[in-house]
Symmetry: C2
Subunit: 347 residues, 2 copies
């Protein structure tokens, strides 16, 4: 059902009749019955103060992320599909099977309802395709000029037999990325700066990584020591987080990190390191060395042909974790954690 050509009003966010009407048209009427609850609990079928899960076997995984990306529509997705995929991916990176999300939307007064509808529809489309329920949510409206467009906070809910905690990374583990990095960041940068780049060349890679992580955990769960999606701060950011968390040194071969040529040249043009640009459809894995080749092949066969072994984990010389980048010539330099602004409102 289209929401027509109206605009978001403060009344839509006041919790009164207009709020309920909008929620019904925008979301509730689009949910199949099976999408309203998860694990035998209470969800958007009841519209109560919250949701429940009745039968949590194993560990429950919970994640939360605010999505503020600007512009809200970009090549490869929009803030709705990004939020859904982001919540699902965070659950997956914890070793969980995504079962549900809750969302909290803050919209600006005057936002075209059509835009809100488009964003929410994208959000729901991703959930539906992944078999993930929407079990709760909230909608607020802020007066014109007090928030820019629309923000979505997405809560991911999943169940894990054995959660993956990145601090489990050990000396000797092999680092694998599932695909080319920096795609989302480059696409958003281009969209923000409006620099004439062919939309086909720079597209966000935003997508749920269910098709990668669930088979991988099923077949090689014991071999996967650590997993993360390198979003804000990019690959350089998460490598440094792992190093600082574990006190280990991560040595990475620059030449083995897949970066697509349009991303590399666009980043070069702007003087930005593509390793600091966000990915929204890539996993960084820390893998047991005895299984690394097998895992790499498995990942490639799952439809990630550019997956690459990019480095390994070493004991730290001075007891303080760091990331070392090996150039093609063989020299080592420190890859610092990104700092400064990088790109505001990238995710």
């Amino acid at each position: 059902m289209s929401l027509g050509t109206g605009r978001v009003t403060l009344a839509h966010g006041a919790g009164g009749r207009e709020t309920w009407e909008l929620l019904d048209r925008l979301i509730l009427s689009k949910l199949d019955p099976g999408m309203k609850t998860a694990l035998g609990g209470i969800g958007t079928d009841e519209l109560d103060d919250g949701a429940t899960l009745a039968s949590v076997g194993g560990h429950l995984v919970l994640t939360v992320d605010a999505f503020t990306v600007s512009p809200p529509f970009f090549p490869g997705g929009d803030i709705g599909s990004l939020a859904a995929a982001g919540a699902i991916n965070d659950v997956l990176m914890m070793g969980g099977r995504p079962v549900a999300v809750l969302d909290s939307v803050v919209a600006e007064e005057g936002l075209p309802l059509e835009d809100l509808d488009r964003v929410v529809s994208s959000f729901l489309r991703v959930l539906r395709s992944e078999g993930v329920s929407l079990i709760g949510g909230d909608l607020k409206v802020m007066p014109r000029g007090q928030v820019d467009g629309v923000l979505i906070t997405a809560v991911g809910v999943g169940v894990a037999d054995r959660p993956i905690v990145d601090s489990s990374l050990r000396e000797g583990d092999v680092l694998i990325v599932s695909g080319p990095v920096g795609e989302h960041g480059a696409a958003i940068l281009a969209a923000q700066r409006g620099i004439g780049v062919e939309s086909e060349e720079l597209r966000s890679d935003s997508r749920p990584l269910t098709g990668l992580m669930l088979p991988l955990l099923r077949e090689h769960g014991d071999a996967v020591r650590a997993a993360v999606d390198p979003t804000r701060g990019g690959l350089a950011g998460v490598l440094n987080e792992w190093a600082s968390k574990t006190g280990l040194t991560l040595v990475v071969d620059e030449a083995r990190i897949p970066v697509r040529e349009p991303v590399r040249s666009y980043a070069d043009m702007l003087g930005v390191d593509p390793l600091t640009l966000a990915c929204e459809g890539v996993a960084l894995l820390g893998v047991d060395p005895g299984s690394a080749d097998e895992v790499l092949e498995f990942v490639r066969d799952l439809g990630f042909p550019q997956a690459s072994e990019i480095g390994e984990v070493r004991r730290s010389e001075r007891g303080r974790g760091m990331v070392l980048l090996r150039s093609e010539a063989g020299g080592l330099r420190i890859l610092e954690a990104p700092s400064g602004e990088i790109v505001p409102r990238i995710c």
Copy 2:
């Protein structure tokens, strides 16, 4: 630890070094070890992609709410204490025992760090006093002018033996409110309009209702059919939600609804119905008629001396739920669901 006199920068939200430093100073350093995890799971001790709960006995309760209140500091609280109490109350109203929260903060570039610190400290203070852990979160910064101040989305996590679902309300049930209504809404209205009202007279009632709900559920759990905190839309809003959800008619005695005199006269002055003003520390209960007197006395003894039986649930004459307000003279009129803007950014 004070954060001094600096301001929030875009770098604080970029996911790089500055983000981690700020999170550490703002939040992590303030959490006691026991506050970092819940139910034997993984939390802010690991700073991973999300949190886990290891042993969920019974039903897991999840709630989400975005807090956008303006001004962020108001008599009786601030956006931080409001968000924490709000998440806790939503869990309680589902019949859950609050065990943890996750938070997602969006701050405006240029916000004084001192303000952010004050807000986050209030948030943590409420969690600490309620024995609730902070197991995950997110922080984003939006450029100056793209968001006003600070927004907090709070996710509440709890465990319930038997969730309270408001659609369980039945014909004959008695309606009880735990205290005077409209306090939060009146205080925010006054703060927004800057009309000279003594701060002692209009104060937000924002507070966790743990001390009401946990003993009540323990001692009279079977008698409590429905429970809600009348936030946005006030008592009129939630009564209408219940009526429309159940198809039952709720008959309420105007004279028995506690409204403090300063709230009533301020609402009158503005031409606003106090029954549409938000409460942030009040519960509306639907109670089995056989236990209603006992429950009312029990609630009063718990420290809610103004708790009042305000009405009862009746079969609907025309099969469509509605709310009827009985005047002191005995006449009945329909109490409509609030509509229109009421008060923007009230919670």
